[in-house]
Symmetry: C2
Subunit: 349 residues, 2 copies
DNA sequence: CAGAATGACTTAAGCGCTTCAGAAAGTCTA
DNA sequence: TAGACTTTCTGAAGCGCTTAAGTCATTCTG
């Protein structure tokens, strides 16, 4: 920048203004500066130096609980992040991805401490993930998605419990009584096997706990004892990762006539497993998903699922980010509604 | 940092060393420094300042050609990026996502110029995307994936043409002669309709051109005239986005008996459309995909497709990144092999 | 026991920019 | 035409850190 300034015969401040405050110098001089910059191969202010001077990096740290391929294989997350990115992009913010370390339910604390970002967005991390402590230690503003409230952070979630309850009620209304629950990951190292209600209730993940509670409460009210409800933890979040545990759930005697799945991905895995066992869906087995991510609509059969407005969730998260960055106080925790969408993967018992 | 130094009664350099070079001070003093830091609420060196001083940001800019939700909906990209991230993570690099602007076939140049990153990785951007110019202007090292070679950049690609040829040959061997091509996006604004071979050959995207050439050459050698091969551009890269154009391809009279699809996503869209038209796959229609992304294995029916080792591609890209960052010269362009995997979506004509 | 080697810190020069308080010169206004 | 404004540009103080070179005791060597 000094070289450009010298070449034109002005001060460094003027070159800076040429880039950042065109109104601070004559259009003519600005042209001259830009021309000189081009000739000297100067591509504009160094982003890092500018960040230091302005104490603003232009990046939003996205804290994930898993590795990237697992995270991206969840269409629900993709849609949410896309909506978030779309909101913040016009303000010049990009997303810095911090994948989980595979153990702590979030990125390593050190990664968070050294990440160049103005704010953090936590996407369903495990309770007590060290990454969250690191965010607080740094004094970074925080938005949490699908997680318990964190002091000082803004929060957006989903009506997990009500949505799950609606799914369970739907199956009960169809006359099902032998109902299995296909649960998302509960522990740091998913076992991919059967668990009892207590274990599942102690899941490290907020939405897993909430959805489970919604299912079990509703079933219990209808007289279906929790003890009679098999609960299986998926061995993975992706469809292919979950298929093995879906078999486990379907191998039980007596076989469930219906499955409550904590995500559409799990529902698709269950359908795939059922098909391989020669079961028809919904003829022999009803399946309810959760999320209503895009694949739910064109799957075979189209999925009965609990719809959450993923785009809205992402947009709200984006607005919260912009708000906190502006210095606003975190508003009261918000929730997007969840409602049952009946398609073709469920039928009377 | 100065406050911590003062509190302990040492110089700022010593505090810095406590964090970065533990061997430069006694273990005891280091403890004392860290304790004082904790008491004062100092969470360690400011990442931006550190970056400026070290001229190293610890971030890798990932240049995408589309928005995030579209990008993530492509499992092939997810797998590749995950492999890349896994390689670079131990060295402390995170991924900074720069989504495309929806017009130029890449991120806006300005986003690239202001992004805080040490290196850029371009993922199948359109030819001549302004983002690439911006990378050069900034003098940022560059790795390109599935794109034409760029001077000074490292490149990793796939044997697109050979893979496509193998797919076409497979269909010919099965006796198919009425073969349609379901093409990925060719233009900045995908039209999602029929195109002639010349239009498609002028695609802005390298792998689209290569795959098309592989298909057409092979068909031509077998006496299937290019003029008789319908080519449809997908209206989107995701399954749901592509279904409408799949209908277009299947509505033609005479209907193709087989489809060459430039990605697994497109193949799945074609299968979904076929099913809705009452066609059985592979009974009435054979479908070949490209990529062999995870869903290809558990789709219904499992997909015959061209396998590329996506993880290997990502790993190689990661190694290239680390190499360039180390100051190595870009090695000669590399290609991962592509080979046909025959599953159950193809059958004799 | 002199001189070399080692260990433990400090000094100070950057890293490349932004921005606020002027200064200089030109333009109004009454 | 003097004083008040504008416009246009400059000076210099940061932003918060890293690191090469240097200082000063100590501990080794032979």
């Amino acid at each position: 920048m000094d070289d450009v300034a010298d070449a034109v015969g002005v001060s460094r401040a003027t070159v800076s203004n040429a880039y950042n405050r065109p109104d601070q110098l004559s259009a003519q001089l600005r042209e001259e500066v830009l021309r000189a910059a081009k000739k000297l191969g100067y591509a504009g202010p160094n982003p890092t130096a500018r960040s230091l001077a302005m104490s603003r990096t232009g990046a939003i740290a996205i804290l994930l609980d898993t590795n990237l391929s697992t995270a991206f294989s969840d269409p629900a997350l993709s849609v949410t992040l896309d909506a978030l990115a779309t909101v913040v992009d016009p303000e010049g913010h990009a997303l810095l991805l911090l994948p989980g370390d595979g153990e702590s339910g979030g990125p390593r604390a050190e990664r968070v401490l050294t990440a160049q970002a103005d704010i953090a967005v936590a996407c369903s991390l495990a309770d007590g993930a060290p990454a969250l402590t690191a965010v607080r230690d740094r004094g970074l503003p925080l938005v949490v998605i699908d997680q318990p409230q964190v002091r000082g952070a803004a929060r957006i979630g989903v009506e997990d419990r009500a949505g799950a309850a609606a799914a369970a009620r739907h199956l009960l209304d169809l006359g099902h009584r032998r109902i299995g629950i296909f649960s998302a990951q509960c522990l740091s190292a998913p076992r991919g096997g059967e668990m009892n209600a207590e274990e599942a209730g102690n899941s490290r993940f907020h939405d897993t706990r909430e959805r489970l509670a919604g299912y079990l409460e509703t079933l219990a009210e209808a007289g279906v004892s929790t003890a009679d409800v098999p609960i299986w933890e998926a061995s993975g979040i992706s469809v292919e990762g979950a298929i093995p545990s879906a078999f486990g759930l379907l191998d039980r005697q007596p076989r469930p006539t219906a499955l409550l799945c904590m995500s559409d991905q799990l529902a698709l895995a269950a359908i795939s497993a059922a098909r391989q066992l020669g079961l028809s869906v919904p003829g022999d087995l009803s399946v309810v998903g959760f999320d209503d991510a895009p694949p739910a609509r064109w799957s075979e059969p189209p999925l009965t699922t609990v719809r959450q407005d993923l785009s809205a969730k992402g947009r709200v998260a984006g607005e919260l980010v912009l708000g906190l960055l502006r210095g606003d106080k975190a508003p009261a925790p918000a929730q997007v509604p969840a409602e049952l969408v009946v398609r073709e993967s469920t039928a009377p018992a």
